[in-house]
């Protein structure tokens, strides 16, 4: 099979005079859009899910960050908040859900269980030791057992910051 040269659209625009400026502006707008509208998935695993709902609820109101649209369908989500203990039985399901999300997608591992297995790290035969071990790239880790809602919001802001500082606009 012949190897075709694939030039990203961004490169092409840069060749046009003034295209660079347009590109940076549009890229910034894209980043702003992506960062300000992170729709999480309605997906709670365990204890942290309650704190996740509490973050969505009136007191902390995740909607202020534009992230209040909890979508139940993975197709319409931008960020998967893994809130709780991942059990071996759940592994495939989480991997599939991650695969079902359209790019660009982000993952927040909320709580120690989602980071490393946490309190269930030792002596358990049925707990997966962290989201990392499933091959899912995690963008922000939020330690805590469970993390306070403020901490989740803080993590969300860190994710927004990460998106704003992203190098490649195509992610």
């Amino acid at each position: 099979m012949a190897v075709t040269e694939r030039i990203p659209a961004s490169k092409l625009i840069q060749r046009i005079p003034g295209g660079g400026v347009f590109l940076t502006t549009s890229e910034n707008i894209f980043k702003w859009g992506k960062a300000s509208s992170l729709w999480p998935m309605t997906f709670g695993l365990a204890c942290c899910a309650i704190e996740m709902i509490a973050t969505g609820a009136s007191r902390f109101d995740i909607d202020r960050f534009g992230a209040g649209v909890f979508r139940a369908s993975p197709r319409q989500c931008d960020v998967m908040i893994i809130a709780g203990t991942i059990c071996v039985k759940m592994n495939d399901c989480i991997q599939r859900l991650y695969a079902q999300m359209p790019e660009p997608k982000y993952v927040i591992a909320m709580g120690n269980c989602a980071i490393s297995g946490g309190i269930f790290y030792y002596d358990t035969y049925s707990v997966t030791k962290g989201t990392d071990s499933l091959g899912i790239p995690v963008d922000v880790f939020i330690p805590g057992c469970p993390p306070r809602p403020e901490n989740l919001l803080f993590g969300l802001m860190k994710l927004q910051e990460k998106i704003r500082n992203e190098k490649d606009a195509d992610k």
Binding site: G118, P143, C145, E150, K162
Partner: protein, 150 residues
């Protein structure tokens, strides 16, 4: 028969409509109560006295009794000591934040209150390595003490 049925139905309809209106009134009433939302990055609520944040250490108070390590349900603390001039000196006090369950039992069991839990609660990281903390390092929590994000 039919008339009775119609009367009953209309009665149900009226009662039903009334209940719906009452519900609407309640939501409207709530619309005018000031929102209880805490505007988080701008407004922060103070943590309570007993709040259990991250595990912290006064190294000078520690008598290396290993009580905290023994009680920890998740083995997130690790101590090593060495002998110096017939005195035990801590050489290592590691805290694995990603295992910690923030139960506060180490703080309660400590005879000298050397180990305690601070008030830091904004602790998100990009990198898991940052959750492994050397408690003997005085600047260990500096990153989370002055968070730059607004």
């Amino acid at each position: 028969m039919v008339i009775i049925k119609i009367i009953k139905l209309s009665k149900d309809l009226v009662i039903g409509a009334w209940s719906l209106i009452k519900g609407l009134v309640i939501t409207l009433k709530n619309c005018f109560i000031p929102a209880i939302t805490l505007q988080y990055p701008a407004q922060k609520q103070p943590m309570t006295d007993r709040f259990r944040g991250l595990v912290d250490l006064h190294p000078e108070k520690c008598i290396i009794c290993y009580q905290c390590v023994k009680i920890c349900p998740v083995a997130c603390l690790a101590i090593a000591h060495k002998q110096e001039n017939n005195k035990k000196v801590i050489s290592e006090f590691k805290y694995n934040m990603e295992l910690c369950c923030f139960c506060g039992m180490c703080q309660q069991v400590c005879p000298t209150s050397a180990i305690y839990m601070n008030k830091i609660y904004e602790i998100s990281v990009y990198d898991r390595d940052k959750t492994h903390i050397n408690l003997l390092n005085p600047g260990k929590y500096i990153e989370w003490l002055n968070t730059s994000i607004k």
